[in-house]
């Protein structure tokens, strides 16, 4: 399941590792906007080169790059195919390259920033909102749980599908979806208990 993570943190001492979290998040947001707003296949190729350069600068492991691009390639190929049909090859190539560029940029952020560093940053950013009832630690914890829940969710989905197949019910949506939802709710309750037991609800 670990291969389903967008990009687990890789410790390092590159310039991108040393940059403050805020600068990286802002940089990613600006870069993503520019990639989406500038419409040209040549510009898309240029942005991909920038993303590749950042990936090299951050010394992201090739395996992580392969995972990120493999995961997005399917979506990119589907979206590119539709664009080709609707608007022609230029648009299709631009869409394909843009999606790969954005996924690489996201991998650079997650590879060079630990989740706890992200949590610290989110807590800092939300602290001014405390007077209006926002509890920064809880929001940050919820965000980190959302990130962490993805591999576990996919693992449960896979187990539930295998269980349905083993009973000869591989084609029955009910045999798959009902236990999947029940197990997800059960896992959520267990996670809630575990957080409670670790005193993480008492952070604020």
């Amino acid at each position: 399941m670990s291969d389903l993570l967008l990009g687990a943190h890789q410790p390092g001492d590159t310039l991108l590792h040393r940059l403050p979290v805020g600068a990286k998040v802002l940089g990613l947001a600006v870069f993503s906007l520019v990639v989406v707003l500038i419409r040209s296949p040549w510009a898309a190729a240029g942005f991909l080169l920038v993303a590749l350069a950042l990936t090299a600068l951050a010394r992201v492991r090739l395996r992580a790059v392969a995972r990120a691009t493999r995961a997005v390639l399917l979506i990119a190929a589907f979206a590119g195919g539709l664009q080709w049909w609707w608007y022609g090859p230029g648009k299709a190539i631009e869409t394909l390259l843009d999606l790969i560029t954005l996924s690489l940029a996201a991998v650079v952020l997650t590879s060079t920033t630990s989740v706890n560093a992200m949590l610290d940053a989110v807590v800092r950013w939300l602290r001014p909102l405390r007077p209006i009832g926002i509890r920064p630690e809880r929001v940050a914890l919820a965000l980190s749980l959302a990130i962490g829940a993805l591999p576990a969710t996919l693992s449960i989905a896979r187990e539930t599908r295998d269980a349905a197949r083993a009973r000869g019910l591989g084609r029955s949506p009910r045999a798959y979806l009902s236990p999947f939802v029940i197990r997800m709710v059960a896992r959520s309750l267990e996670t809630g208990d575990a957080l409670h037991a670790r005193g993480l609800g008492d952070l604020d």
């Binding site: 943190h9 630990s114 989740v115 949590l119 575990a194 005193g199 993480l200």
Partner: protein, 244 residues
């Protein structure tokens, strides 16, 4: 050692009144003072032993009576009790919430250490203590069952609680990992409350409570407690291959 006091502590669910229609007793009122270093809880599935364990750190609040840890009420002083009483679950996967091992231990330390650098240092130390130094930056999902349970223990013990409640921590493990985790548990400085189906582990405790049909039916010396439990099971359940 901590002093855990149960004074008529019981749990009834689905009630408007404790004895009203539709109510179900999960644990009958229980009184005991637990001060021993190693306390075992044994009993059949669904007997109420996990509920008893969960009462001790406030995961479940008693609907009757009180539970106190070193004088702190698990309901009123819940946060303080949770700082003293760590809890380890049967399935470590539910307990591991961060992407990598070191980050999961760091999460536990957030309440205790504000400096990110010191948190990282301490987390790496704890992982080394639990034999997981080489896996510090690995995904928690890539660990074996035994390693996951060790990591879950590391996450709980990183904040140095005075009591560890472990709810069947070896049930999902193979023999080698069971021994590894059990040896680690019995080597702790902390007071240990161990819910287990493993009667060999129960025998290693200083005191054992036997839970059956939602009540503590025996409380005493481990050998006698295990004998009582085995006899009670023998009375109710035909052994495999006995026919019929």
């Amino acid at each position: 050692m901590a002093r855990i006091e149960l004074d008529g502590a019981g749990v009834v669910v689905g009630l408007s009144t404790a004895t009203g229609p539709g109510s179900r007793t999960i644990l009958a009122p229980t009184s005991a003072t637990l001060t021993e270093a190693r306390i075992g809880i044994v009993g059949a599935n669904g007997s109420g032993k996990s509920t008893l364990a969960r009462l001790l750190n406030g995961l479940v609040e008693p609907t009757t009576g009180t539970v106190r840890v070193d004088g702190l009420d698990v309901g009123r002083d819940a946060a303080a009790v949770r700082r003293r009483v760590g809890f380890c679950f049967t399935d470590p996967s539910a307990q591991l919430v961060m992407p990598t091992c070191v980050e999961d231990v760091e999460l536990s330390l957030r309440r205790h250490e504000r400096s990110a650098r010191r948190r990282r240092e301490r987390a790496l130390e704890v992982l080394a203590e639990f034999g997981l130094a080489d896996h510090a930056h690995d995904s928690v999902h890539s660990l074996s069952g035994g390693q996951k349970q060790m990591l879950a223990l590391a996450g709980v013990l990183a904040v140095q609680p005075s009591v560890l409640v472990a709810d069947e921590p070896t049930t999902l493990l193979d023999l080698a990992n069971t021994r590894r985790v059990a040896d680690r548990l019995f080597a702790l400085d902390q007071q240990l409350v161990l819910v287990t189906h493993d009667l060999d582990l129960a025998r290693r405790c200083d005191r054992v409570l036997v839970v059956a049909e939602s009540r503590v039916v025996f409380d005493g010396e481990p050998g006698a407690a295990v004998d009582h439990y085995v006899r009670s099971v023998g009375d109710d359940v035909p052994s495999i291959g006995s026919g019929g």
